[in-house]
């Protein structure tokens, strides 16, 4: 009896010690949500991309200034007519299962992105007609029409390469055990608990991978995420609550790299989605202008986000090279707002504003509600679960909805789908054929100067309509412990672990 007890105790102690020892070579990162399915062609969440950054390499990547750089591809060339793009593939790259990454594999992947039933990448590669294999290291992409944002798309999930062997074998269950070509390979996943990756010894840039094991832990509550970071349970977290930054800066054990994000947050106003509307907000642009003028963006930023974010008024942040500097962020102007309402012939405007059912969104809504009341807007807030909100938006059953967009490397990704008549994300019903022409031309144009000019012309037309009132741009913060070295913040919010070490 005694001997058995001692043996059991020894086992337990050993297990605890071993468990402790293994943990030291591991980087633990706290995520704000649980990623969805880990299949690059089916995935749809921002947080899933963070896991992919370590798991699945892409044809192209970006640097800290959001400029495109090579990753699995070494270069590209676009034909003069813009309809053919030749991509050179890095040689000697292997997938996690040991198979080679060659032109055939790249063709397989691009075909899969377009043809897999339910693929979320098909719309991103809508202009891709076919892919031909030129030789073992070269592919040709044939487009139906010139499309400048193509390379940017290939620097995101559409350009992620999965092992054809594994994909064929697993079919639609590929996401349960993904096999890619990134610096880390998949070990296990427990839904809503953790995702474990470990170092891939045959990675093409293996010398740059200094961590043995990565564990991603989804912890939705920002305070709990922070508490885990402070206690040392995690070495890094993403998306801390802006109101916690003060406390984090005071903590000498933490470093907080940051950068502006590519996305925006604004209020989308329903002008005609779901049918003709009768409310003054939808019908009269002066009412919308008054609404915008009644809002003080700096107050929102200061009160809700402790001043940590960046106010803005366009689909790209003021720090972006695509920002149009002579249409700056307007300040609050109560008098003008009231005058506009007078002009429009309304006394007080009341409507219901849907807000996402989370504390930050509700807070923002409450601040806006209080501010615009002074100009003559009586807003009732309706905290709506995300699922319901999407539905209501689809059906056009809403007045105004503060909603954001995580942002894309190419400005087209922040603009086209929202402001074109048939845009997939145009939830306001706005339609101006001239804007459509300008934005389509901007996609096809070859140089940045040309494109900037076209986007600017379009902006001058659609911005005053105020069917989307851009309010601010989030800043990306990546608090981590000081023993983590070599980390840099990227504007797409992804956590890249090449060159990162844990001491």
């Amino acid at each position: 009896m005694g001997a058995r007890l001692i043996r059991w105790l020894t086992l337990v102690v050993c297990a605890a010690l071993v468990g402790g020892a293994l943990a030291q070579a591991t980087l633990r990162i706290g995520l704000a949500e649980d990623p969805d399915v880990l299949d690059p062609d089916l995935a749809r969440t921002y947080v899933g991309r963070i896991v992919f950054a370590s798991l699945c390499d892409k044809l192209f990547d970006i640097d800290t200034t959001a400029a495109v750089v090579p990753q699995l591809a070494t270069g590209y060339a676009t034909a003069a007519d813009g309809l053919t793009v030749t991509i050179d593939i890095r040689s000697g790259v292997k997938f996690h299962d040991g198979t080679d990454l060659d032109a055939e594999a790249v063709k397989y992947n691009l075909d899969r992105s377009v043809n897999l039933p339910g693929s979320n990448r098909a719309s991103e590669l809508a202009q891709l007609e076919s892919v031909t294999v030129v030789d073992a290291d070269t592919v040709e992409l044939h487009l139906s029409t010139p499309f400048s944002p193509l390379i940017a798309q290939l620097a995101d999930r559409a350009g992620m390469m999965v092992s054809p062997t594994a994909a064929e074998a697993a079919g639609e269950n590929f996401g349960n055990a993904p096999v890619c070509a990134g610096p880390f390979k998949f070990v296990e996943r427990v839904s809503q608990d953790r995702i474990v990756l470990e170092r891939f010894a045959d990675y093409w840039d293996a010398a740059n991978v200094l961590i043995d094991r990565v564990v991603f832990l989804p912890i939705p509550d920002s305070s709990v995420r922070l508490a885990n970071l402070q206690s040392g349970d995690l070495q890094m977290i993403e998306r801390p609550a802006p109101t916690d930054l003060g406390a984090m800066r005071a903590d000498t054990n933490l470093v907080i790299p940051s950068t502006a994000s590519l996305g925006y947050q604004g209020i989308t106003i329903n002008e005609s989605k779901g049918g003709a509307r009768t409310d003054p907000l939808a019908r009269d642009v002066r009412v919308r202008e008054a609404f915008e003028l009644a809002i003080d963006r700096n107050v929102i930023n200061d009160v809700v986000f402790d001043g940590e974010f960046l106010v803005g008024n366009q689909p790209v942040p003021p720090t972006s090279p695509w920002y149009v500097a002579d249409m700056p962020v307007p300040g609050r102007d109560l008098e003008r707002a009231r005058a506009l309402l007078d002009e429009a012939g309304v006394d007080r405007v009341s409507f219901e504003m849907m807000v996402a059912n989370n504390p930050e969104a509700i807070r923002t809504g409450e601040v806006i509600q209080a501010m615009v009341a002074e100009a003559g807007f009586d807003i009732t807030l309706r905290a709506t679960e995300f699922a319901t909100a999407l539905d209501l938006q689809e059906q056009g059953q809403y007045f105004a909805f503060p909603v954001g967009w995580s942002g894309r490397i190419d400005p087209d990704g922040n603009i086209h789908a929202f402001h074109t008549c048939d845009g997939g994300l145009n939830e306001s019903g706005y339609c101006d054929p001239e804007v459509d022409e300008l934005l389509n031309a901007a996609r096809a144009a070859g140089t940045m100067e040309e494109r900037y000019d076209l986007y600017r012309q379009a902006l001058e037309r659609y911005l005053p309509d105020r069917h989307i009132i851009y309010l601010y741009h989030t800043q990306l913060f990546f608090p981590h412990t000081v023993d983590l070295q070599g980390f840099q913040a990227y504007p797409d919010g992804l956590i890249r672990l090449q060159g990162v070490s844990l001491n």
Binding site: A387, L390, D391
Partner: protein, 314 residues
Amino acid sequence: MLPFIGRRVLTAIPTLLIVTLMVFGIQRALPGDPALMLAGEQQDPAVIAFIRAKYRLDEPVPVQYAVWLGQVVRGDLGVSLRTNERVLDLIASKLPVTIELSILSLLVALVIAIPTGVVAAVKKGRAADYGGTILALTGLSIPNFWLGIMLILLISVRLGWLPASGYVPLSEGVWENLRRMIMPAFVLGTGLAAVLMRQMRSSMLGVLKQDFVRTAHAKGQSGATVVVRHALRNALIPVVTILGLQLGALLSGAVLTEQVFTLPGFGKLVVDAVFNRDYAVVQGVVVVTAVAYIAINLVVDVLYAVLDPRIAAR
């Protein structure tokens, strides 16, 4: 005995069926289209149509119900809409967490409730009795999510004694596991302790009045021996039967506790699934819970009948 068990099982079946109808009905009544949720930021119409077809969301509700019920009976609880994992696997991975939480809470509750209840009964009408009652009512009245938050503030943030959240499986470290379970178990246990304590007290009172206790006293056995050896054993029976009925309450409490302490258990799974419109998961979890609840109560009923044959004769 056997006909008794048989009858009980027979009545359980329609109950289960009604549960399935209820959960299915409520799910379909939830506003919001899961296909839209699943289509992510892009909202590609082709993807939305594909999802609707794949999960048969466009078929009439009774048909969807019949298909689902058929699968359940065969042991297939379907697949999570969100991550494509099998619901059965999801439940199997979350169950140990909630079971461990429940067992630990139970231990905490019993450790608090039995001595407090016994003392309150023995010292009835005096200060200890009132004190015990107030304590029990306090445990019952504190919202457990608030208690959890306050404990995190005090113990994790201010004092840094225990981690604020997360779960480490027993296989990876018993001590690490317990460090993270102490606070949640305490939070859940105090509510249960209150109920158990009162039951302990009233059944103890009932037993203490009985003849055999007076006989033991008359025979000269000390107060403590009487209490422990004779009264307690008899008084524990109703307390045990209460436990079966408290399973539902325990799971409800677990929902919030797991949310506050970020424990990857059943409760959190179901709440997230409701918000994500992950029909299959909610339905699967509710069915499993209902089966467990009914099974446990069946066992309790049988135990009761074994202890008191008059009941089986009904």
